[in-house]
Symmetry: C2
Subunit: 200 residues, 2 copies
């Protein structure tokens, strides 16, 4: 999985450094007021290299999020087309959050910082939506293939599912903003319940 070559390590490290620099600078001065040059310099890299690591400025802060997709992939293997899709997907996401809660504290703190920024900065919100969008696409095609269910049905379920997930993230970030520290997993499961109540 993780290549231990020097190149791989270097690459992972600069990716981290760029992401951290971006996060700090975005928090401090706002996304718009932060230039790519500033982030690059803070990360100890040239502007040109910055763009070899991140496609657009706003996405700098999400570097490393790809691993989340990788963590989801194996869980998807258990999803079957013979049972309702949505509950199974909710299980997958809950499992993901459980893994996060058991993981390093540092990762959670970072995620909270990012989601707070996402809540505050429209430009970042848009970037986050873009990522969601891509993940939805991948997830849909993957599920269509593995479950054999018709595309429109799968798309609807996935789209609704991520909507619930996203609102949970927002609510979690909001709570933290107000100083109330809540559990993301609990917030998410509550949201799933609220969805049933709303659609009953």
């Amino acid at each position: 999985m993780t290549e231990t070559g020097l190149r791989e390590r270097r690459r992972a490290q600069t990716e981290r450094e760029i992401a951290d620099a971006a996060l700090t600078l975005f928090e401090e001065h706002g996304v718009e007021a932060t230039t790519v040059g500033q982030v690059a310099r803070a990360a100890g890299v040239s502007e040109r290299t910055f763009f070899r690591y991140v496609a657009v400025k706003e996405l700098a802060v999400f570097a490393g999020d790809a691993e989340i997709g990788e963590r989801i992939a194996p869980m998807l293997a258990d999803v079957t087309g013979d049972e309702p899709l949505l509950p199974q997907l909710e299980q997958v996401w809950a499992e993901l959050l459980r893994g996060l809660a058991e993981g390093r504290d540092e990762q959670q703190r970072r995620m909270l910082r990012v989601r707070r920024l996402v809540r505050r900065e429209p430009a970042l919100r848009l970037a986050a939506l873009r990522l969601d969008e891509e993940r939805v696409g991948d997830l849909v095609s993957s599920l269509v293939e593995s479950t054999g269910r018709p595309e429109p049905e799968v798309r609807l379920v996935v789209e609704v599912g991520v909507a619930v997930f996203r609102t949970s993230l927002d609510r979690w970030a909001d709570a933290a903003e107000r100083g109330e520290h809540t559990d993301l997993l609990a917030t998410y499961t509550e949201a799933c319940v609220a969805l049933r109540r709303a659609t009953r």
Copy 2:
């Protein structure tokens, strides 16, 4: 409502001309390959003026969509906090589509062209998401005030509702792409039913 001053009319007209020029050029050459200068020239306006009408290039094609928000506003008055929110919202959107179906054919054809482009061009998809996002924000705060329901609940319902609506638009555009001409309203109500099935 509609001021009949010469200025207002001129303004509305150039707005239309920009939107039409953008739509045609985007269809013909793709969004990325189309420069603002080209759209501006085709619309008979300077580049500087273009940016007085549209905030970012990709949004050019959605000019005039604001009126949809205005058409929704009065319908929102009937929404009460004493009954489940989601069905009421679904009613509002269905009503909106009904109004569209009864309206001018030209408007529907234009909407279809736009949604097809949105489906094909990631940049436009993102722009559409941005608009959705803004509308969700407005809708949520408006509903929180008028219904007195707690913000998180309202946000969840609106976000899910919009997701269902969006997938309907996509499906509608897909069908049209394949030559099957389907009814948008019917597609939407089917999606609402599918949502119940998925969450049961």
